[in-house]
Symmetry: C2
Subunit: 555 residues, 2 copies
C-alpha cells in the first residue's frame, strides 16, 4: 500500500458558487476507492444558458470509474448540494447516505426517476459513522440555513479530513443544531490532515450574525404594517420560515404558504419532526377571508423567478389573492448576483400597486447562512489542520480563503474543479488535471456544455435566423428561385423593400451566375448561399444573421 | 390663450433608469409648442433584448408633431442623455442646444449621420438664455460626474420650471462647477411652479460625499500597491479620470489610457479646455517599457462589457499589455444592476492570474454622481416648488421621491413615461396617456419593441428551432418524405435514435395519413406539421421547439 494516495477532486463548486460535487479517493493512482460528497445543481441564465432547465456537474470521470465508487454523501438539502441526485443517480449507482431530513428530500427526487427509497440510507449524526471502503465517514452537525446541515468527518489511512459543508457559526440558529465549537475542537484533537472549507463569505469582514437576531426586527415591522404583509425567502431556508411565521403569529397575523416548493419544504420538515412549534397555517381559501392586517403570506420567489408566487402577485391576482395599496412586501433574503433584474422588476410592479417594498440591504431582516471571514478563522483555529483546501466559492473566494489560511500558517491550496489534489504528502500537490465541466438538463435530455447546442441558441438570439431553400431537378438545374423565411430580424432594410424580397433577389442572381460544378455540389452551394444571405443582411440591416440552407434535389 | 396649458410628458427615464427624454409643452391642448429635454439611450441585455445594439425612446408621438417642436436641450453628455441624438435627429429635426462640452460630444454623434455641426448651438451657462416659442430656457450649472452638467431654468407663461438634470450636491467636484446653493435659491426667489428632479438615489439615506474625498484614498492605495495598477471607471466620469490620474501622478505612476471611449472623452474634454491640469499620458508603446510599479492603466469596462479593455485584459494580452501576479485591479465604480455577472467573471479571471482585485463595495474609491435622500431634501428646500415631479428613476424611486416631497408639504406627482401632466392648474393632474415605449436599434435598423422580432429571438434561444420542409408536385402529392434541420436542440432523444430521423419518420406518417384537402391547403399543412414536430420533440427531448415550415409546390 505504499503507493496509495489520498486525493481530493472537486467536480463542481470550486471556482463557482453552486453545483457542488466533491470526490475523495484512496488507493493506488487511478485505482482509488472513491466517495462522492454532494450532487448539486446550478441554475441557468439567459446570458449563457438560455432555455436550459438545470446545470449539473459533468460526472463523466466518475461514471467511467463507477465500480470504484463506494458511496455518495449528501451534506444538506439545498438544491446546490442535493439537486442532481435524481438526474445523476443511475449514472453513478452507488449507495447514498444522508441524515433524515436530507434523506427525505433526496428520496423525493429519486422517486421522480423511479429509484426506490432504499437507495438512500439514513445516518444519525456523529458519533455514528459508516465504513465505506478505506473511509469511515460521519455526519457532524453544523449550523447553516437548513435543518440537519452537516459537515463530514472522513477518516482515511492518511489521517482525518474534515469537510465542513456549508456552514455558519450560529449558537442560536432557531431551527437545527447550534454550532458546537467543542465538538469541532474534539474532532481535531488527534490532528487533522485537511480541512476542506466553505469559502462563500470570505470577503465579509464582520462576524456573522445569528438567525435569532432577525425575528424581533421582523415582528416589529409586522406589527407596524397597516395592511397585509407578504414575505419571501428561499423555501429551503426553514429557519427563516420559522422565524417569519413565529414573528407573524406574535404580531397577530395568520400565516398562509404560497408556492409549491414552500409547501413542500414545510411538509418535509414536518415529516421528520423538525418543525414542532411551527404555527399552524391557513389555507388559501381561508386566507381570502382574513382581514389584511391579520394576515401574512409566506411566498416563493425571493430571486424574482418568473413563475414563483411573488412574481405572480406582482403581475396581479394569484389564487384569488392580490396585493393592494398599503400592503407591505418583505424580501427576507439577499439577491444572488445575476438575479437583480428580475427582483427589481417585481419591486417596481409592487410600487405601481402602492405596495411598500422592504428590501433588506442592511441585513435587518436577513442574515447569511455562511461563515464570514472571522468565523472562518475561528474554524481554522478550532481544527488546526495541516492543510486547508477552500471550497464552495468562485476563484476569487478560494484564493482569498487560501491567503487567509497561509497568513495563519496553514498549508493552503487553491483547487478548482478538475484539479485533483494529492493530500498524502508533506504538502498538498496537484496530482492531475481531470476533464470536468457542466452538463445541461435541457427538457428531458442531458447535453454537454460543449455540444454547441446552447451556442447555436445564443447565436440565433443575437443574430436572428434566415432559412434559405433551393430545389434543383435531376440535372442540377434550379427549379425556380431560392426563397427565404426570416425569424427574429427586421422585415424592412435600407432598400425600403421587404428584406425577404431583397434576399430572394440577391440569391436568384447568385444562382444564375453559379456554374454547373457549384450547382452539383451541395457543400459549395450551401456555402455560397450562406455568404450571399449574410452579405445582403449586412448591407440591408447591419447584421450577419444565422443561416440554415435547405437544398432539395429531385431524384 | 385662456385654454393654453403647460404640460410635462416623459417619454423615457421616468419608470426606468436610462433613455432619458422629457417633453414640455405650452399652448392649447394638442397644439402646444414643444421643447425636448435630452435624447438618451438605454443598454440592452440578453434577458429581454438579445442582439439589440441600443435602446432608444419611442419618439413617434413627437415625430407626429414635428412642426410643433421648438428645440431640443441636452443637459449633459452621458449616454443616457445624449446617446440617441444621432439616431433620432432626423425624425425630430429641431435645433439642439447644449453647453460647449456636451455640444462637442453631440456633434460627434451627429457627424456619424452626416448632420452638420450647425445643428447644435452652444449656449453659455445662465444668465444666458434662449427664447424658443413660449419658453425661455437657460443652462444652470450643477455638480454631477461629467463636466458642464446642467439643470435647466424654463420660464413659461405659467411660471418657472426647474429641471435639475442629473445632479449631486458637491462643493468640490474636482472637475466642473461646484454646486452653488445660492444660485439655485436665487432662481427660486420669485417662485417655482414645478421642480422636475433626479430621483436615482432617493433610497440612499446618508448625505452624498464629494468627489474630492476619493483622491487621497486612491493615492494611498496606489502608493502601497507593489505591481502595476489598473483602474476602471465610466469613461464619461471625467472627474474620476482626473482624480485617478492625479492620484497616480502623486504616487509616482505614469498614466496610460486604454479603450476607445476613454481616449475620446479625454480628447473632447481637452478640446473644450476643461482638463487643464490632467497629467500628460503615455502611449501604449511607452507604457510597455515602464516598470510596472511606476505605471497605472486607466481602462474602459467598469461594467464588465465583453469588448472593453478590462475584459480584454482579463482574457490575456491587450495591445501588448497584460496583468501579472502582484498587480492590482481597481473598480472605481459601482456595478449597475444586471451587469453583475460580467463584472464577476472579470474579477475571477484576474484572481486566476494572481491579481488583487479591489472592488469598491464600501465607497472608499467611488462616490455616486447622484443626490442622496438628504440632498434631495436640500434641493426641495432651496427651490420651494409648488409642484414636485420626480424623474430619472424606476417607479419605486419616483414613488419614494414623491412621498418625500409630500412629507415636506409639496404637491408631488408620480409621472411615468407616457403620462402627460398638466402643470397649469392648482394641482398637477394627468391630462392624457400617450403611447410611449422603446425603439430598438438593431444593427442599422430601428425596430419597435412590439414588432415581435426580439420575441422570436428569445423563443429560439429558449426552445431551439426546427425547419421542416416538404415538396409537393402539381397534383398536391408529396415528393418524398418531409425533412428536418435542427438548430439549438439535442441531437438524440429518448428513442436513442437521431432526433432528425424520428421527426422525419413521424412527419412522414402524418403526411401519409393526410387527406387531399389538407395537402392542398398550405395553412392547414403548416399547422399540422408544426403540431407534429412539437409533439415529437416534446416526447423525445421534453421541449416544444420553434418551428419554421417550408412548403414548396412545383408548378
Amino acid at each position: 500500500m505504499s503507493t496509495s494516495r489520498l486525493m481530493y477532486l472537486p467536480l463542481g463548486g470550486a471556482g463557482e458558487i453552486g453545483m457542488n460535487c466533491y470526490v475523495y479517493g484512496y488507493g493506488p493512482a487511478d485505482k482509488e476507492r472513491l466517495i462522492v460528497v454532494d450532487l448539486g445543481v446550478a441554475f441557468p441564465d439567459m446570458d449563457s444558458t438560455p432555455g436550459v432547465d438545470l446545470i449539473l456537474p459533468d460526472v463523466a470521470w466518475l461514471e467511467a470509474r463507477k465500480a470504484q465508487i463506494e458511496a455518495i454523501f449528501i451534506t444538506h438539502a439545498h438544491e446546490d448540494h442535493v439537486g442532481a441526485v435524481g438526474h445523476l443517480f443511475e449514472r453513478l449507482g452507488a449507495p447514498i447516505y444522508a441524515r433524515a431530513f436530507t434523506a427525505n428530500i433526496a428520496r423525493r427526487k429519486l422517486d421522480e426517476y423511479g429509484v426506490p427509497e432504499g437507495a438512500v440510507t439514513t445516518l444519525s449524526p456523529y458519533p455514528e459513522t459508516v465504513e465505506v471502503g478505506p473511509f469511515t465517514v460521519g455526519f457532524v452537525p453544523i449550523s447553516h440555513s437548513i435543518p440537519e446541515s452537516s459537515g463530514l468527518v472522513i477518516d482515511t489511512p492518511e489521517g482525518r479530513v474534515l469537510h465542513t459543508g456549508d456552514f455558519k457559526i450560529d449558537t442560536n440558529p432557531i431551527v437545527g443544531e447550534a454550532f458546537d465549537a467543542d465538538l469541532w475542537a474534539s474532532l481535531a484533537k488527534d490532528g487533522v490532515r485537511a480541512l476542506v472549507c466553505d469559502s462563500t463569505n470570505v470577503f465579509s469582514k464582520a462576524e456573522g450574525r445569528s438567525e435569532s437576531t432577525v425575528g424581533p426586527e421582523i415582528e416589529t415591522m409586522m406589527r407596524e404594517a397597516s395592511g397585509m404583509v407578504v414575505a419571501t425567502t428561499f423555501a429551503s431556508n426553514i429557519a427563516r420560515l420559522q422565524t417569519l411565521a413565529s414573528a407573524a403569529k406574535r404580531a397577530g397575523r395568520s400565516v398562509c404558504l404560497l408556492g409549491r416548493s414552500m409547501r413542500r419544504m414545510v411538509e418535509a420538515a414536518t415529516d421528520v419532526g423538525i418543525l414542532g412549534d411551527f404555527p399552524s397555517v391557513v389555507s388559501v381559501e381561508d386566507a381570502r377571508e382574513i382581514p389584511r392586517e391579520n394576515l401574512m403570506l409566506l411566498v416563493t420567489g425571493s430571486q424574482g423567478e418568473r413563475r414563483a408566487a411573488s412574481a405572480q402577485l406582482a403581475r396581479g391576482k394569484y389564487l384569488g389573492l392580490s396585493m393592494a395599496e398599503g400592503d407591505t412586501f418583505l424580501f427576507s433574503s439577499k439577491t444572488i448576483p445575476g438575479n437583480e433584474r428580475g427582483v427589481i422588476q417585481i419591486m417596481n410592479a409592487f410600487s405601481e400597486m402602492g405596495v411598500d417594498v422592504v428590501y433588506d440591504d442592511e441585513g435587518k431582516y436577513h442574515v447569511s447562512g455562511h461563515a464570514n471571514r472571522p468565523d472562518l478563522l475561528t474554524m481554522h483555529q478550532l481544527t488546526k489542520p495541516q492543510i486547508l483546501v477552500p471550497m464552495h466559492g468562485e476563484h476569487r473566494h478560494l484564493r482569498e480563503h487560501a491567503k487567509l489560511g497561509k497568513a495563519g500558517g496553514i498549508d493552503s491550496i487553491v483547487a478548482v474543479n478538475g484539479m485533483m489534489i494529492d493530500l498524502s504528502g508533506n504538502a498538498p500537490t496537484v496530482a492531475e488535471y481531470i476533464e470536468s465541466g457542466r452538463t445541461y438538463l435541457d427538457g428531458s435530455v442531458q447535453v454537454g456544455a460543449f455540444d454547441g447546442i446552447v451556442r447555436d441558441r445564443i447565436r440565433m438570439a443575437l443574430n436572428g435566423h434566415v432559412v434559405a431553400t433551393l430545389i434543383l431537378d435531376e440535372n442540377d438545374d434550379p427549379l425556380g428561385d431560392p426563397w427565404c423565411e426570416i425569424k427574429g430580424i427586421a422585415e424592412m432594410g435600407s432598400s425600403d423593400a421587404p428584406l425577404v424580397d431583397v434576399l430572394e433577389h440577391d440569391l436568384g442572381q447568385m444562382i444564375n451566375r453559379a456554374n454547373d460544378k457549384t450547382l452539383a455540389d451541395d457543400d459549395k452551394l450551401e456555402e455560397q448561399i450562406k455568404r450571399t444571405v449574410r452579405q445582403t443582411t449586412q448591407a440591408e440591416i447591419g447584421k450577419k444573421v444565422e443561416v440554415t440552407v435547405v437544398i432539395s434535389r429531385l431524384a
